[in-house]
Amino acid sequence: MSKIGWKENRGVYTFLRPEERTKNKTRWKENVVAYTFLGPALLLLSMFLVIPSIMSVYYSFTDYYLLTPDMRKFVGLDNFINLFQDPIFLKSLVNTLEFVVWVIPLQIGAALGLALLLNKQRKANTFFKVAYFSPVVMSLVVISVLWLYLLNPNEGIINNVLTYFGISAQPFLTSPKQAIFTIVVVSAWQGAGFQMLIFLAGLQNIPGDVYEAAQLDGINKWQRFMYITLPLLKPTSIFIFITTLIGAFKLLVQPMVMTQGGPVNSTMTVVYYIYQTGFTDRMVGYASSIALLFGTIIGLVTITQRKLVKEDED
C-alpha cells in the first residue's frame, strides 16, 4: 500500500500527482490497444519482409545451394567478387538502367499528357479514365501475352498494319536491338494509367483563382502550363517520379513472358537474373548477393534523388 502514488523508474520511486497517475494509466491502455491493432500487421510484415530481408543479407555471404540448405558455409565476399566478373549480371544491369532511362520520361510524360487532356475534357470523362486505367488493373502476364500476339512477326496486327502502309515488318521482340524498346513501350502503356490518375488529382487540387489571377495578367497557354501548372504539380511529380523509378527497376514479368531475357540476353533484367540464379540454377547465396547489391543501388539512387529535390527547394 505504501507504494501507491509512486512510479518505479529504474528502482527509484518518485512521487506522482494523482492526475498524472490516471494520465499514465490511460496512456498505457491506449498503447495496449494500439499495439493490439498493429500486432497482426507487424507480425506479417516481419514474417514476410523484415525477417526474409535479414536472412537474404546473411545468405549473400554464404554459398547456399538450394538443394543442400544445411551445408551452407560462410564465404565472405566471394559472391560479390564473382558478381563483378559475371558478364550476364553486368549486361542485366546495363539493360535495366537502359529500361529505366527510357521508360521514365515516356511513362510519366504520357501520364501527364493524358491527365491534362482529361482535366479539360468533360464529355465522357469517366469512359476515358476507365479506358486508360484498365491496363493497370489487368495482370501483367495477361498484358504481356496480349502484346505477344499483337507483336507477332508473322500474324501480328501491328506488322500487318505497318506493311499495309508500306513499312517493312519489324522484328520487335526477336531483334536484340529492338526488344528492350518494345518492352519499354508496352510497360509505359501499361503503367501510365496509374500515374495519370494521380496527376489528375494533383491538377484538380490547383486552386482556380491562381489561374484567374494569371489570366488578368494576360499570359498565354504555354506560360500558364510552365509557370503555374507545372510548379504547383511539383509535390505530385516528385511522388510519381520516385514510385515509377522504383517500379521500373523491378522489371520482371514482361521480359519473362515475352522474351525470356533474349534475344542474346538483350532483355535480361537484374530482377529476372536474381530469379534465374536463385530458382533455376539453385544458387541462393549468389542470388541473394545480387539482390543485396541491387537493393543498395536503388537505395542510393533514391536518396540522391531526394537530396537533389531538396536542394532544389532551398
Binding site: L67, P153, N154, T174, Q260, G262, V264, F279, T280
Partner: protein, 432 residues
C-alpha cells in the same frame, strides 16, 4: 476472459504441434504408409494412370500392411509449383518417401543427397532401356527410373512432299538415315515449291526444347556438350564437331529452309511441310488435326560419321534419402515403372516405354509413326548431360543457338562456342 485465452492458446499449440510433426510412417491401424509426390494433376490422363497403379499396389501389398499414398502437385511451365514445393520440403526436411524429378535433375539431386541409390533394392535393371539407365545414373549408381520415354523426330506432311515431287518410298529410315546434305537437298526442293520455310525447327522456343531437339546434331558429329565424367565443357563443347553441327543449323537458316520466327502451328495447319517435334505431337495430331496425313522420319546424320543419335529422357521416380521405409519406397518406384505400369501409360498417352519387356508389347500396338520413334529411341537414344550444373549448361547451349541464329552478327561460330563453353565450365567448376 481467462477461459477464452486458455482455449485459444491451447488451440494454437495444438496447430503448432500438428504443423511440426512429420507425417507418421506408421498409421494408427498398424499400416505402414509410403507417401509419394508427383508433378502432374490427378485430372490429367497420366495422373489417372498413376492413381490406378497406386491402387493396384495397395491391393497387392495389403497383406504386408503397406499403404501407398499419392499426392498430386501440378507443376507450371518450367517445373515451378512442384519443384518449389520440393525445395520448401528440403529446408524443413518434410520430403515424402518417393518423388518425381525431371531427367536432367538427377545429378543435382543425387549429389545433394536428396535422393538415394536404388541398386540395393531394384535388382532387375537389365530390362531397362540404355537411355533410361543413362539418365538415372550418377557416379555409377542408379538413382531414378523414368516414368516413360520420349523422343524427337521429323514430322512430314505426306501430301505436300508428294506434290513437290518427292517419292515417299525414298525417305530415310532408322536403319538408313539421311545425311545433312541429303536433308538440305530435300529442304531446297520444298522451299522452291512452296516458297516458305521447309521445316519448323522450333528455334523460337527459348526453353529446354531447344536443347532437347538440337543436341543430337552435335552428338551425331561425334561431339559432346560436356565430357563423359561431367567435369569438362571447355575443350569438349567448343570443338570442331559442334562447329560442324551448328554450321548445318546456320545453313538451314541462311538458305531460308527454316526460320527463327515460324508461323504458329504452321505444320499442323499445312503451311510448312515439316516440323521437328517430340512424340507428344502424335497425340496433338490425333486429337486436333486428324485431316493431316503425316509421317515421321529420323534425324539426319553427320555426313562424316553417319551416326544416328536421338534425344531421350523424361520425368522419373526416385526415393528420397530421408525415407524411413527405403525397401518399400524402392518397391514403389519399381512398381510405378514396371511393365504393367509402362504399358498402361503408353496406351493412354503417346509415351514411349522404358523397358524392353513393355517395348515388345507396345511395338505391336503402336502406329507406324510411333514405331519410328520407338525404334529410333531403342537403338540411338542419348540422355542429356548428367551434371549438377545442368541448368546453367542447358541455358548456355540455348544461348549458343540463339547467338548463332543471328548469323550475320555471329559469323564466327568458334568464338560463340568459346564464350559459352567458358560459361558452362565455370558453372561446372562451382557445382563440383
Amino acid at each position: 476472459m481467462k477461459k477464452w485465452l486458455l482455449v485459444s492458446i491451447s488451440l494454437l499449440l495444438m496447430f503448432a504441434a500438428v504443423g511440426c510433426s512429420k507425417s507418421e510412417s506408421v498409421n494408427s491401424d498398424g499400416k505402414k504408409t509410403i507417401t509419394m509426390w508427383v508433378h502432374i494433376s490427378d485430372e490429367n490422363e497420366e495422373g489417372k494412370v498413376y492413381k490406378k497403379r497406386v491402387e493396384a499396389f495397395n491391393k497387392k501389398y495389403a497383406p504386408d500392411n503397406i499403404k501407398a499414398k499419392i499426392e498430386f502437385i501440378p507443376r507450371s511451365g518450367n517445373g515451378g509449383g512442384y519443384e518449389d514445393k520440393v525445395n520448401a520440403a528440403l529446408t524443413t526436411s518434410t520430403l515424402p518417401d518417393v518423388i518425381t524429378l525431371d531427367g536432367p535433375n538427377t545429378a543435382a539431386y543425387a549429389k545433394s543427397g536428396v535422393i538415394a541409390p536404388l541398386d540395393e533394392y531394384v535388382k532387375d535393371q537389365e530390362d531397362l532401356l540404355p537411355s533410361i539407365k543413362q539418365q538415372g545414373t550418377y557416379k555409377d549408381k542408379l538413382y531414378a527410373i523414368g516414368v516413360s520415354e520420349s523422343s524427337v523426330g521429323i514430322y512430314y506432311n505426306k501430301r505436300m512432299l508428294q506434290e513437290a515431287g518427292v517419292d515417299l518410298n525414298t525417305l530415310p529410315t532408322v536403319d538408313n538415315p539421311w545425311t545433312w546434305d541429303q536433308f538440305l537437298a530435300l529442304c531446297k526442293t520444298l522451299k522452291d515449291k512452296y516458297d516458305k520455310p521447309a521445316i519448323d525447327m522450333q528455334l523460337q522456343s527459348k526453353d529446354e526444347m531447344l536443347t532437347y531437339a538440337l543436341t543430337p546434331f552435335v552428338w551425331s558429329a561425334d561431339g559432346d556438350i560436356i565430357s563423359k565424367d561431367g567435369k569438362k565443357a571447355e575443350g569438349v563443347f567448343n570443338k570442331k564437331p559442334t562447329v560442324e553441327a551448328l554450321t548445318f543449323i546456320q545453313t538451314m537458316l541462311k538458305e531460308g529452309y527454316t526460320t527463327r520466327t515460324p508461323v504458329k502451328q504452321a505444320f499442323e495447319t499445312e503451311k510448312y511441310p515439316m516440323k521437328i517435334s517430340g512424340v507428344w505431337t502424335v497425340t496433338d495430331m490425333k486429337t486436333n488435326y486428324q485431316k493431316v496425313d503425316y509421317g515421321v522420319i529420323p534425324y539426319p546424320v553427320s555426313p562424316k560419321t553417319k551416326k544416328l543419335v536421338s534425344p531421350s529422357g523424361s520425368w522419373q521416380f526416385a526415393m528420397t534419402q530421408t525415407s524411413e521405409n527405403k525397401e518399400w519406397a524402392a518397391k514403389l518406384v519399381d512398381w510405378m515403372t514396371n511393365k504393367d505400369s509402362n504399358v498402361e501409360l503408353s496406351r493412354t498417352i503417346a509415351a514411349l516405354p522404358v523397358r524392353y519387356s513393355s517395348e515388345k508389347v507396345m511395338a505391336k500396338e503402336f502406329s507406324d509413326q510411333m514405331n519410328v520413334f520407338l525404334k529410333q529411341l531403342k537403338e540411338t537414344g542419348h540422355a542429356r548431360p548428367v551434371t549438377p550444373a545442368y541448368p546453367q549448361v542447358t541455358r548456355a547451349f540455348q544461348q549458343t543457338i540463339d547467338d548463332i541464329s543471328f548469323y550475320d552478327q555471329n559469323k564466327d561460330i568458334q568464338k560463340v562456342l568459346d564464350t559459352h563453353a567458358k560459361e558452362m565450365q565455370s558453372a561446372i567448376d562451382k557445382a563440383n
